[in-house]
Amino acid sequence: MKNKKLLSLPYLIWMIGFTVIPLILILWYGFVDSTGAFTWDNILAIFRSEHLKPLGISLALSAASTVLCLLIGYPLALILRKAHIKKSGLIIFVFILPMWMNFLLRTYAWLNLLDDGGLILNIAQALGFRGNIVGTNGAILLGMVYNYLPFMILPLHNSISAIDDNVLNAARDLGANETQVNTRVILPLSVPGIISGVTMVFVPSLTTFVISDILGGRKVLLIGNIIEQEFSTASNWNLGSGLSLILMVFILISMAILNRYDKEGSTLA
């Protein structure tokens, strides 16, 4: 029995080497300057306007894309629940299929529609729209919703379709109308799915630099772009690490908030 436990050791060493130590490195780089002396500068740099503004846009866009995905995905999951089980398997397959297309190509695909000569821009211009779509916050928001919508639909569908029909029938027998069934029974029972979906949309939206690179036309910078540039072109790893630490703090905060709702949700259920 003893030697079996030893089998877990190589993995522990691997994970310490490739996960724990790298994170400590980020922490280290974030708190020292280029000479190796301790400093708060890399952390406090977030308050400089050229960093604060991208962080603000990132937070606003990722919050907006999360809310939009939830508003679009929730009715869809409700409709799928009511659809025939055989049919809903096929429908969910159709809605997940775009996920297999390369993430960058999916984003690039919108460039074909929104950029000069693209179908949507042409239609918008025919309707009297002047200006560009690419390079606006709206284009980036669209890219986020498009890319991460399946990540919202899946957990919502999983949790809503798992609700027992008998529970809903019991609510109806006890006099609940359809609205009450939706808000007082289905909604609380789907909280775990909502939380999964929200995390899966919010975190990648907050940290993305690809969507803003492709659809932002180099005019919109998100905090992800700033960090990526510090590492790839500017080669200021200390500053990049400091800003990454700030980003991690926001991710942890959002998870802590969601965690609280999860507990409230499960007591409701």
Binding site: L105, N112, M248
Partner: protein, 273 residues
């Protein structure tokens, strides 16, 4: 009233369907355009020819497939062996393992990629194929563990003990009794790891160095330079092969690969909360 509701439901599904597929259809249509711009100038296979004659795309496809295959196989082997060890641990130490296992799932890809890049630089390894492979194994093992460990914990210990009592050596009993029982978990873990590796861009971007490209990193550098119709052709081929693979795997096994990817996403978020 009920009919009206059904109509709105169908219309809603239709709208989302158009939203999801319009860009993909546009890509496919443009891939057959003879011109470079966004004006339709006639049907042609020019961009497909260009695609198949490009050495850099061939290289990138090769790298992507070999990294995905190697990293998921190695991750599966490491994952299964570690699961046996973790399963034998006491609850407290198992919790420590699971906490460490969750770090890559919890963390954003951006931070994971950056931290690995810093590690490789600190150790003095030049970035290239091996560093990408190491990075992919690192983010793949947790998926294998998450799908194998629950299976292993459900296995009936008596069957293994019975095999031992009947004279089987531990290794033989494990191979003949335990492995078949946890096989579905191993397969879904492997497939999850394989798709995660195929799909990855961010972590590869930070660990690859200048010399090599995967499909994702190649697309990134191409797309940033403007309109690239051969990328449309590449998208079309990748999308069609994804459909073919999915249909095939549905025919071959009852377990939908869709469920696997769904489970991967679910798990990723579950661990995060």
């Amino acid at each position: 009233m009920k009919k009206l509701k059904k109509f709105f439901g169908a219309a809603y599904l239709g709208l989302i369907f158009v939203f999801l597929y319009a860009p993909i259809v546009t890509l496919i249509v443009y891939s057959f355009n003879s011109g470079k711009g966004r004006q339709w100038t006639g049907f042609s296979f020019t961009w497909y020819e260009k695609l198949f004659n490009s050495a850099s795309i061939g290289n990138a496809v090769g790298n992507t497939l070999s990294i995905a295959l190697l990293s998921s196989i190695i991750a599966t082997v490491i994952g299964v062996i570690s699961c046996i060890g973790i399963n034998a641990l006491k609850n407290k130490s198992r919790a420590v393992y699971m906490a460490i296992n969750n770090i890559p799932l919890l963390n954003s890809d951006l931070v994971t990629g950056l931290s690995l890049m810093l590690l490789f630089i600190a150790v003095g390894v030049t970035s290239g194929y091996p560093t990408v492979l190491l990075a992919h194994i690192t983010f793949n093992v947790p998926y294998v563990i998450l799908s194998v460990l629950p299976r292993l914990r459900q296995t009936n210990k008596s069957a293994y003990e019975a095999a031992i009592d009947l004279g089987a050596k531990p290794a033989y009993a494990f191979y003949k009794v335990v492995i078949p029982e946890i096989m579905p978990g191993i397969i879904s873990g492997f497939l999850m790891a394989f798709t995660m590796s195929l799909d990855d861009f961010i972590i590869t971007h930070f660990t690859k160095g200048p010399g090599i490209n995967t499909i994702s990193t190649l697309i990134y550098s191409e797309v940033r330079r403007g309109v690239k119709p051969d990328m449309n052709a590449l998208s079309t081929i990748m999308f069609l092969s994804a459909i073919v693979l999915l249909v095939l795997s549905n025919l071959v096994s009852k377990k939908q690969v869709g469920e696997v990817k769904a489970a991967a996403g679910e798990k990723k978020s579950k661990q995060a909360v």
